[in-house]
Symmetry: C2
Subunit: 203 residues, 2 copies
């Protein structure tokens, strides 16, 4: 029933595509830095349609954060989860982080949450909570992969999954911050080997 025909003039835009365009604008310019004119243009949605579909600017922002944070297809996470060998998986994750934060198709550097949304956590209602949830959820998602590796014997039974998940995620923030400051992908990969070892080292 997803494509059930409705009465009335059809929408000219796809909701999810438009929302992702909004993410890109907010990512590049921040909440206050992104004007409604920027958004309507990038999304291909006129102001009245935008307000009817997404509510006001703040609500659109929250929806954009939610859309981005709950993206199962986040490439570093997918790389980490889909590679069977745990060492290669960790390496693939870090590698994808570098690619993602330096060469995103939208042109925006870094990560939407850590390079852009973080700012608004200081002043905009509800953003802190969204960020916190996203962090906890990512920690858990990373830890789950370590748990799988423990289950199949690739990692020791006492491997501290959650601690190393947090470590991996924190290292990621460092890379992403450097990427936002336009450090080169090459420089970000300098310490990759050592960090993979570090993340997987026995206790």
């Amino acid at each position: 029933m997803a494509i059930a025909k409705k009465v009335g003039r059809p929408k000219k835009f796809d909701r999810d595509t438009a929302l992702m365009s909004a993410v890109n604008v907010f990512w590049l310019k921040g909440f206050e830095g992104a004007s409604m004119a920027d958004l309507t243009e990038a999304m291909g949605v006129n102001p009245p349609s935008l307000y009817a579909e997404f509510g006001d600017k703040l609500n659109l922002y929250r929806l954009a954060i939610d859309r981005y944070a709950s993206n199962d297809a986040c490439s570093p996470l997918v790389a980490f989860e889909s590679e069977p060998d745990i060492e290669k998986a960790v390496r693939a994750f870090m590698n994808e982080v570098v690619i993602y934060s330096t060469k995103h198709e939208s042109g925006a550097k870094g990560c939407f949450l850590s390079s852009s949304v973080a700012t608004s956590a200081g002043a905009i209602e509800g953003v802190q909570e969204l960020l916190k949830k996203a962090i906890e959820s990512t920690d858990k998602r990373l830890a789950k992969r370590f748990d799988s590796a423990k289950a199949d014997g690739s990692l020791a039974k006492d491997f501290p999954s959650l601690e190393r998940a947090r470590l991996m995620f924190d290292l990621r923030q460092g890379l992403v911050f450097r990427a936002r400051a336009s450090c080169s992908a090459k420089s970000l990969k300098a310490d990759l080997d050592q960090r993979v070892t570090m993340i997987l080292r026995d206790t």
Copy 2:
């Protein structure tokens, strides 16, 4: 000759104090999120005086970034540099990062550069460069302390100072990001011991 009396009505504000107040406002609200009304009020400087002293909003922002980035008194760095024992120094650094990013007197969470300036690096001329310089300078400042420890024999001669400096700084970004999302200081200290070990481990 610093306090040489000048002709004309004296200024009502101290330049550096006002600049630090501007840092706090930008830290909390971001560049576009901070209005000139917010700034003039927090700084205790009327608009005409502000423009005469600091130029326009963008110039004030650049000055604020520079003031913050070149602060020799940054408490985590000072803690790291002043503690003679290298292990205690690393621990003190991480500990101060947690305190600094969760309990700053201004009420702002995180770090001005990584939680706030990073956003504007996407759209505001010159900010990327300022950020990159601040990162490189901090990497080097941290590495210097490791070099001292190598010189006095506390660390092995082949200890990779710069690599571990980058590691320490990247881990810091992770903590700071969590702090901005209002994670508790206690939760940020959970992995402190393991991370100190990690940073100092022999190659």
